[in-house]
């Protein structure tokens, strides 16, 4: 199971679900968490499922490469960090 951490900036707005989730890609891991809180999805992804312009996701210490489909592969011990970008104000 991948371990997911969210920025505290997001915790202000949504009570966050459990931190561990199954999935072969970043999109699948996040989808498992969004299923626990439908509104959380819109904080991280836009209407089209793309990563929001001013949100960054680090996968095992590196920014993900695919911000459109979030297809970066996830390992069972991966760590995913969802952060706000400073560019967002």
């Amino acid at each position: 199971m991948a371990y997911v951490r969210f920025t505290s900036h997001l915790v202000r707005h949504r009570p966050l679900p459990g931190a561990e989730a199954e999935g072969a890609t970043v999109a699948q891991v996040l989808a498992a968490l969004f299923s626990q809180d439908d509104l959380l999805r819109g904080y991280v992804l836009d209407d089209q499922g793309r990563l929001r312009k001013h949100v960054n996701i680090y996968l095992d210490g590196r920014l993900i490469l695919d911000r459109v489909r979030l297809s970066d592969p996830v390992m069972p011990q991966s760590e995913i960090y969802v952060l706000q970008a400073l560019s967002g104000g």
Binding site: H13, L39, V44, D46, D47, Q84
Partner: protein, 359 residues
């Protein structure tokens, strides 16, 4: 007791009119979160607040207990698509209550410019596809934002299927069948930011805000990018109000609830500057349908004022006597006598985006 909601860059503030004047009432809601627009639904007292998080997108919240508690709702959203430039809602720019005959119906206008309708007090939304699919929409463009947007949603109190929209930049759009079909209004507008031979192009018009007279819905007032206009046929055509001192540029407009000839504006030096003319903040008022205007300055700063009044930050209450105005520099004024005398309620608010008197 009168109540005024103040939507700012840093949250939603409430002011109540007391025997000691207007007083802040309680801590702000949504502290540090930018409010873009709000609706106090006169049909059932429901409050709606739209937020625009810098990082996390725009959001919509509803209160069923006059602001004591809030619940987040689903935000209007575009359908998923594989197109590389598929849209996403960037901002909620307008919220409007449906007609008295359709309780629970509310409308939202967005950037990019789309109209959404909810029939269940914001629990779910449907895009108005007929407007989104209009080919003219490809020519809409942003003004002050990256995208075009819908900021004015006027529901005819005589016929809730009759809706008039203001689009920046995209003109005036009118439906008589609750959004099944649309036509362009706005004849008579003149745009000076496009080649002169195209200045009357209906799609290229930039109405900054439009309001419909509740007592005579054929009367529509418009603060346009290029001047003040008034319509006597529900927005199909407009005449320009000329010789408006100190300026006919601005964003906000408010119309008297029972006198369609009476309207207020918050002028600024025109578009490349956008500050009060000569540093003096005034409110202009017409009482005769736009033929003559008076500039009110009593109680407003008359030197070195840099306040700009955004489009949703000049409002009148249901009595027509209380008028409120909020500025980009965080000042809030209220008049209790129809705009002649103004009282400075607060000088240190965050930039003010939207105001609403409780119905």
């Amino acid at each position: 007791m009168a109540t005024l909601w103040v939507g700012t860059r840093k949250g939603l503030f409430r002011y109540d009119e007391t025997s000691a004047g207007w007083q802040a009432a309680g801590p702000p809601a949504f502290l540090a979160q930018p409010v873009t627009v709000l609706l106090d639904d006169p049909r059932d007292g429901t409050l709606y607040v739209a937020l625009a998080h810098g990082h996390f997108g725009c959001k919509l919240h509803r209160s069923d207990d006059r602001g004591t508690s809030w619940r987040e709702l689903k935000t209007p959203a575009f359908a998923a698509s594989d197109a590389p430039d598929a849209p996403t809602v960037e901002m909620l720019w307008a919220l409007a209550a449906g007609g008295r005959d359709e309780p629970g119906v509310i409308y939202a206008g967005t950037l990019p410019g789309a109209l959404f309708r909810s029939e269940n007090r914001g629990e779910s939304w449907m895009i108005c596809q007929s407007l989104w699919d209009r080919p003219e929409r490809q020519r809409w463009f942003g003004a002050g934002y990256d995208h075009d947007g819908i900021h004015s949603i006027l529901i005819d109190p005589r016929d809730s299927a009759h809706i008039v929209l203001g689009v920046s930049v995209g003109g005036v759009w009118i439906t008589r069948d609750r959004g099944q079909t649309w036509d362009l209004g706005g004849r008579g507008f003149v745009a000076d930011y496009i080649p002169p031979e195209q200045s009357g192009d209906l799609v290229m018009q930039d109405p900054h805000l439009m309001v419909m007279s509740p007592s005579n819905p054929d009367r529509v007032w418009c603060q346009h990018h290029c001047g003040i206009y008034v319509s006597d046929d529900g927005g199909w055509s407009f005449r320009e109000c000329r010789d408006v001192a100190p300026s006919s540029f601005g964003f906000g407009v408010a119309v008297h609830p029972t006198d369609p000839d009476r309207a207020w504006f918050a002028p600024a030096r025109k578009d490349e500057v956008r500050i009060p003319v000569d540093g003096k903040l005034v409110v202009t008022q017409t009482r005769d349908g736009g033929h003559h205007f008076v500039a009110h300055d009593r109680g407003l700063p008359q030197r070195a004022a840099w306040d700009l009044i955004y489009r949703h930050a000049l409002v009148v209450d249901s009595s027509g006597e209380r008028i409120a105005m909020g500025s980009t520099t965080g000042s809030l004024w209220v008049s209790g006598d129809g705009g002649s005398q103004w009282h400075h309620i607060d000088a240190h608010l965050p930039p003010i985006a939207a105001l609403s008197f409780a119905p």
